[in-house]
Each structure stands twice: as structure tokens, then as C-alpha cells.
């Protein structure tokens, strides 16, 4: 079976003047479709950089990233944007909602980008699914942190992505809200059969996934099943 995400000999080095810093070094990962994976590790271990590279937000220094049948290295920024729009969903620690758009409009963006006619009804259904039926016309500044993350979640699933990347999805939320957001992420993951990749510090959350990849100093130091 074709891997949902395949990373081969991936390295990322940043250069500033005469100094260079290797953030990721020789990473090899393969993730199957529908799998849920947590990437864990201390601060500065390269988790977010790896997420960015896997999602096609950045280009590696060496090595390759395959997202389903697309080799991301060979694509331009706009071609990668098209792949993100069709096959990828994102959830961020700080929600990243557009402040000038309502909750509904935020969720509709990926669908409208595809020129989909039923964008509004799909987005409304998704917001209803995450419990925000009454908040459709609210702006992000009028929503609580938990509500904002649920809008972000609805947006992430709006284009029925094959793969979902979540960067510390509960990092800015209190315990109760975190719990409900986590439940929603996994429920939608199950429901839609989406591959899920979560970057987190939270081992409790990591243990809810099928697999944990541990990074340290830019290298994979463990790839195991959760406890």
C-alpha cells in the first residue's frame, strides 16, 4: 500500500552569515494512510520544522518528502499550495483564524478556494458538528480560545483532507477545553479516515495516537507504539 507520508534522508540546515545550524538531520519516516502519529520531543528538537517540511510549508536542504503520490521537493510554492488546499488540513496552537472573517467564513476558505458551490452548507454542517451552530457569524475576537480552536478544527476538516497536521493543538487551552478538542480531533479522524500527525509536548495526548516518533537534537531517537 502507498504511504500517506514518506520522508527519506531529510535534513534542514539554516545558514546565517558564515554560521550554519542543522535543525533536522537524516530523518526517515513512513506513515500509513489513516494512521495517527504524535511527534514529540523537547523544545528545539526540530518538531515544528519537521511538520512544516512534511506539510509542504518549507523545502528541505537535502532528502525528500512524498505526500501520497506527490514528491513535494520538485514542486513550486504555488503547486504545493494546491496540494495543501486539496489534501491537507492544519490545526495550530494559536488557532490562526483570520480576524476579519466570521467563524463561518473562516471555515469556508479552503472550499471556496476550490470553487466549491456548497461551501456554505458544508461549513455550516461542520461548525454544527463542533458545537458552534450559534456562533456562525461571530468574529474570532468574539470567541473564547476553545471556540476558536473548534472553528480551526472545522476549517481543518472542511476540505476532507487525506492528512491533517496539528501543531500543539491544545497548547493554548485549559484542561477541560483541551479534552473536548482532543475528543473532536480523534472523532473526526475516525469518521473521515484522515491520517493524523500531531506535534505535541503533551504525552497524554501523544499516547492517544497509534504511534509516537520522538525527536532529539534533530534526529529520530525513538519510533514506538504508545504506552
Amino acid at each position: 500500500m502507498q504511504a500517506a507520508l514518506k520522508v527519506d534522508e531529510l535534513s534542514k540546515t539554516y545558514t546565517s552569515g558564515s554560521r550554519s545550524l542543522t535543525v533536522l538531520d537524516d530523518i526517515n519516516i513512513s506513515i500509513e494512510p489513516g494512521e495517527s502519529v504524535a511527534i514529540v520531543g523537547p523544545s528545539g528538537s526540530g518538531k515544528t520544522t519537521l511538520l512544516g517540511l512534511c506539510a509542504g510549508l518549507d523545502k528541505p536542504s537535502t532528502g525528500s518528502v512524498h505526500l501520497y503520490d506527490s514528491m513535494l521537493n520538485d514542486l513550486s510554492e504555488d503547486e504545493r499550495a494546491e496540494i495543501r488546499n486539496k489534501h491537507v488540513g492544519f490545526i495550530f496552537q494559536n488557532f490562526q483564524l483570520i480576524p476579519t472573517l466570521t467563524a463561518l467564513e473562516n471555515v469556508m476558505i479552503p472550499l471556496e478556494l476550490q470553487g466549491m458551490k456548497q461551501a456554505e452548507s458544508i461549513a455550516t454542517d461542520l461548525l454544527e458538528r463542533v458545537g458552534l451552530k450559534d456562533r456562525l457569524d461571530h468574529y474570532p475576537s468574539q470567541l473564547s480560545g476553545g471556540e476558536q480552536q473548534r472553528v480551526s478544527l472545522a476549517r481543518a476538516f472542511s476540505n476532507s483532507p487525506k492528512i491533517l497536521f496539528a501543531d500543539e493543538p491544545t497548547g493554548n487551552l485549559d484542561e477541560d477545553t483541551s479534552q473536548s478538542v482532543e475528543d473532536l480531533i480523534f472523532a473526526l479522524n475516525q469518521e473521515k479516515g484522515t491520517t493524523l500527525i500531531i506535534v505535541t509536548h503533551d504525552m497524554e495526548l501523544a499516547n492517544k495516537t497509534n504511534r509516537i516518533i520522538q525527536l532529539k537534537g534533530g534526529k529520530v531517537v525513538a519510533d514506538r507504539k504508545p504506552e
Binding site: 515544528t48 511538520l51 512544516g52 510549508l57 518549507d58 510554492e77 504555488d78 499550495a81 494546491e82 496540494i83 495543501r84 488546499n85 486539496k86 491537507v88 492544519f90 495550530f92 490562526q96 483564524l97 483570520i98 480576524p99 476579519t100 472573517l101 467564513e105 476558505i109 479552503p110 471556496e112 478556494l113 476550490q114 470553487g115 475576537s141 476549517r155 476540505n159 501543531d167
Partner: protein, 845 residues
Amino acid sequence: MADFKFLAKTALRDSRKNRGRLLLFMSSIILGITALVAINSFNYSVVKDIDRQAASTIGADLVVQRNRLPLSDEVKGLLDSIPGERASEMQLFSMSLLPEKNVSQFVQIRAIEGDFPFYGMIGTDPEDATNKFRTEPIAIVDDAMMFQFDLSVGDSIKLGYQTFEIGGRLTSGFGSNSLTASFAPTIYIDQAYLESTQLVQPGSLVNYSYFFKVPEDFDPDEWDEEHRQTLRNNSVGTQTVEEQKEDLTEAFEGLNYFLNLIALVSLLLGCIGVASSVFIYVKSKIPSIAVFRCLGMSGNQAFLIYFIQITVLGLLSVIAGVALGSSIQVLLPLVLSDFLPFDIALDISWTAIIEGFLVGLVITILFALLPLIAVRKISPLRTLRASFSDDLAGKDIWKWIIYVGIVLSIYGFLWQVTKDPLASLYFCIGLLVAFFLLYLVSKLVIWGVQRYFPRRWNYVLRQGLSNLFRPNNQTQTLLVSLGLGTAVLTTLFIIQGLLLQNVAGMDEGDQPNMILYGIEYDQMDGLLELTEEYNLPVIQRVPIVTMKIDEWKGKTKNEWLQDTTVRVRRWAANREARVTYRDTLSSEETLVQGSLAGPPAEHGDSIYISLDEGYAEGLNLEIGDEVIWNVQGTRITTYLGSLRDIEFRSLSTRFFIVFPPGVLENAPQFRVLVTKSPSPQLTGTYRSEVVKRYPNVSVIDLTTILRTVGQILDKISYVIQFMAIFCILTGLIVLISSLFLSKYQRIKESVLLRTLGASRSQIMKINATEYIILGALSAATGIILSIAGSYLLATYQMELDFKMNWWPIIIVFILVTGLTVLIGLLNSREVVNKSPLEVLRKEVG
């Protein structure tokens, strides 16, 4: 993928919370476009009226003119071949005496013969005054002069030896401008009575005009073209309705050129405001753009969203500017009435509206594009790392293409206005240099403050100072926009001041202020006695002989004029020369070459004359060349012995040609007496006495002329100041929007400082420090630029003495700095007056 509808919809949604703010930022271009449209609409109205009114401004189909001398027989023969009606005018300057008021006035006499004007009319009050003055010694007197001396219809006016009854007030005449009219008011009389005034004597300055009304099948332009060479050889000028249209259009173009430059500067200032506003706006939108990119939007789509927003707002601003400009064009004739040959009928000019709209929109969008194109490059990676900024670090070829587009569009605009590609190029280069210097200064300031940062100063000052170079600083934007505005304004003030100073200084010190001319030989002793009685000094007593140049360097005048291989100045060859004789230089002259006293040895005892350097150059003459003069029928052979440079700004008599003593003493001549009166009262009584005793002698009061020139300059200053208002207002809006923007840049920081315990006064002091430095630096840089520019303009273009009046400059400096601080502090009021949480919720949330 997404279509335009989605992009337009997203642009609309995304702009929701920013529309008011954005509109304020874009509004800085409104005034620039207002000025442009108002000026262009007015211009088109004038051009249309020129077409409509050209015939009635010259009063005939064809006018033939000869200055100073009657027509030659050859030209008279030519004029006899013109069919239709004819009339003529003799025009001269002279003194007039008002017996009832016992005062005299220098006037311009227009003696009419025939049914002139054939088109239009001489405006009089009562209206039928022109019917009577053809049959009786009646004069039509300039309305302003009637008012000045409290004259009434029926009073008398004496011109030379003839007394006329004032038959009416002249409300509108022909061929006189407001400058001439204000120091020599016009008097119309019938030509039949001119002889009895005895004002026309050999050597009198009389201009002759012949007016023709021709049948429809006769083309005056064709006739003019056919006989041009003969007419030119006889120093005869012509004017047809078509030429008048061209002349009026050309004369107006100068004014239009100046007005358009002011409009362009306003527009450019506005555009700097737009560019800086869009730059900050885009910066504030980076997180949203990164999210859009992350969700699959391409760089070009993201760019289009903001391009649509800016274009729509730009469009609204341009429409507002166009509407405002079309409405306020009615103000321009009020300001410019003294410089226009006729009343202007103002209509809505669709050409001006479309031109203003297109120029405004193109230039606004080009300036907005500069910061906007960065949107294409914003990386989605910023969603994960807020500190990521490598995406905008690289060079973008489009930026340079836009720069070229801006320069080309400015150049195109200037070329269209000036019709002079070279002058447009110089102006463009000047503008670029000004921009570059201001940019350089801002870079130097940022570098200097960082490099020599006063680490031991107190915190408040250090914080204010460091705002100049930290991220989101306003140093470059404010220095360039405020600096350029200040430079334009100060240049206008300096040049205006220089013009007024140079005029005012002309009769200071030992400079004469009264000239008596037309004095006959036997009147001189009496006049000297009279002058002595009034205790006035005789500064110059100059004999004047009139003559014409016949031959030089072995060729006749006509041979020179027909020779296409050598360029000889027509004015120099054709002029009726007024020559004096003496063996010393006057105080206004410097000897450039040769010797005034002694001739070069090889020419023995010939007559050596001295010429003005420019005059000799116009005739292609060098030291030692032979010149033959016609002195009222007698030919005199001379040689060029010396060249002089004459200071033309002096009010003394000046002579292009000076003969040595002992040659012209017996030739027919008249004399000029130059004196200086200490007060206007003495000038008045002395002048009246002179006119009473010697009616043929004209007394020119230079103080009055200077005062008139000063008044005209004041009017020009008024026009300049009126137009400068556009620059000032645009600059102010740019200042307000720039500082308003900086509020958003600084708000988080100020709130944080407040949260950490900074007092209101500390925040105010930090902001004041930054704005004082920015305002003072912008003003100082602009002023230095304008002093350098004005010096070059005054010295090399206008040939004025460059003496600075520092007061207006100090006032501009204080005003610009003060306004910057005031608006800056008003902007930060909210941050210091409300609780930090309240501000954060409102402005940042």
C-alpha cells in the same frame, strides 16, 4: 481553483474591520488629484475661451505693427494690397496733467483712427463715449486712474500741449496688460488730435499699428506667410486671429505648466502617503496572508485580494479627488483673474476629468504596488514561526519594474504638460535626487543613532531615540514625505522672497528713482535749475542720438539677415539704436575687452565705439571690426574698440552703444536727466512742475513702477500660496496618516510599558522625543534641500542676487516640527488616557 468572484468576496470580507482606516490612508491622494483636475479643467476652459475670444482680443482680422518708427514705403505698398476696412493706432507713453487736481500722471496714449475695433468693443462708461471722441478733443481715461484721482466725466486732462475733456471711463481696452496699465494707465483719443499735443517728435517712442477687417475670401495668414520676409526685413510684426490664439495659448501654457507642477508635487506627496500606508497595512496583514497561503492560496491569489482592496479604495479616492477638483475649479479664476486676458466661462471638462482620473489612478496604483507585491512572497511557514522573515529578504525584479513605471509615468505626465522632453527629464532627475537624498539622510540617521547611541542617557530619552531605528520605525517614511513637502514649500517661499527683495532693493542707496526724458537741447538749462530749486541731485545727464546700423564687417544688414550660414540676431540688427557719447564707464558697467579710452594702434584716428557684449555677440562682431551707422541720413564709419558687461538690474540709463566724445555733438539729439527724490510728496510736486513748464518732457517715477511690480509679485505670491495650500494640506494628511499608522505600530509596546508601570508623562515624553527628532530632521533636511535648489534656480536660471531671509524658513521649521509633535502626541492620547486592557481589547483584539 478559486475564481475572481471568490477573490473579490474575500477582499471585501477581509477589509471589513479596516475600511475606515484604509480610506483615511488612501485619502492623502485626494488633494493631489483635486489640484490636478481643478487645474486641468480650468486650463481647458481657458483654451476653449481663447478660441472663442481671440478675434475680439485683437479687434481685427489682421494687425500690422511697427515699433518706434512709421512704416517704410515698401510696407505701405504691401498694405495697400489688403482688401476690406482698415484702421490705425499710434501708441506712446507720456506725462498727463490733471489741471483740476494739479497732479500729473505717466500714461499710455492710444490714438485711434478709423472704426477700430472691428470685433469686440472698447468698454466705456457711459457706453456711447467712443462715439463722441472721434469728433471732439475728448479722452477716454482708464477707470482705475479716474478712481485714483477722483476724476469725473467732464473734467480735463492735458496731454502735451492739448487739453482734452474726459468723455468717459475706460472699463476694458485692447492690448494692455495689468502691469502696464497699473503704472501707465491707458488714455484713448482720436488720432486727429495727436498732432496738437506735439508729443510726436523725432526720437519719440511711438508704436504704430494698422488694423484690417478683410473679406471672407482673403486669408490673412496666407498673406502674412507670403510677405513674411519683407515684413521682417522692415522690422514689421503681424498678428492674425490664428496667431493670437497661438500666442494666448502659449502665454497661458507657462502658467498652466507652473500650476501643473504644483499639482504633481501634491500628487507625489499623496502617493508617498499611499505607499507608506499600504506598506504598514500589508505588514499588519502578514499573519492572515500566511494563513491563506497555508490553506492553499497561491501567492498571486493572495496578492490579488489586497490589490482589489487597494484598487477599489484608490478608485474611491480618485473619484472623490476628481469630484472635488471639478467643483473647486471655480476658485481658480478668482485667484488668477489678474493674469488672464478675458473672463473665463467655466464648464465641466470631461477631458480634464478623464485625464485626472487616469493619471491619478495609474500613479496611485503604481505607488501602492511597491509595498503590495511583497504579498506574493509571504510564506505559509509564518503560521508556524511568527519570527520567520526570510521570505521578504530576497530581491524582487518586479519592484524595479514598478520603480521604472513610476519614473516613466511622472516623466510622461511632465512631457505632456511641458511639451519639452529635456526640461521634463531635468525635473524628473531633480525629483529623484531629492528623493534619494532624503532617503540617504534617513538611512544615515538610523545608522548614526544606532552607532552612537547614548547609552548613559535616561531611559525615557533612550527609548524615544531608539524608536528611530527599531523595527516598525517611521523614520524613512516621515523623513521622505515631510522632507519633500517642506522642501517644496520652503522653495516657494525663498524664491518669492528673493523676487520681492530684488525688486525692493532696486531703488535703495544711491540708485536713482526718477528719469526725465524727451528733453530738448534748449530745455536742459531750465530743467537743471528747476531740479536744483527742489534740492534734487543730478545723477546723470545723458545725451541720446538715435541711429540705425547699416553695415558691418563689409556686409549690409540685409546681406547679413539673408545669410543662412551665419546666425545674426534680428533684434540686434533691426533695432533703432539709442546711443550716447562719453569716455568713462558708468558704475553699472565693467569693461570686458578692449579699452574705452584709447583705440588700438593699427586703426589710427578712426572712431572707436564700445558695445554691450551680448549685443556685439548678436551681430557676430569682434574687437577691431568695422561698423557703419546711419545717423538720421548721415553714414558714420566706426570700429569696435571695446566690449562692456552691463548690470541690467540697475535703474540708471543703460546703453548698448557708446560713442566717444567729439563725434555726435552736432547730431539731432534729445537728453535724459536722472535724479533721486527722497519722498513721494516731493516727486509729485516736482513732476507736476516739470510737466507744467515742459509738457513734452516725460517724468518716469521708478518708485511707482517698482511698487507696481511689487504689487504684481504680491499677486503672484498669492497664487503661489494658494496652490501651495494643496501641497501643505496633502503633506498634513500624509503626516496624520503616517502618525496614525505609527500608533498601531507602537500601541502594543506602549500598553506593555503602561502595564509594567510607566507613567502617562513617561509615555508622552518617549513619544515626544521621537516626534521632535523626526519632525526637526525632516524639516531641516527639506529646508537644506530647498536652499540648495533655490540657490541654483536663483543664480543660474533667474539671475537674482541670493540673499536669504531666514524668518520664513525658521517659521517653516518650527511649524513642521511643532505639527509633527502635536499630531503625534494627539495620536498617542488614547494609549495614555485609558487603561491598558481597554486599549488592547479595542485596538489589538
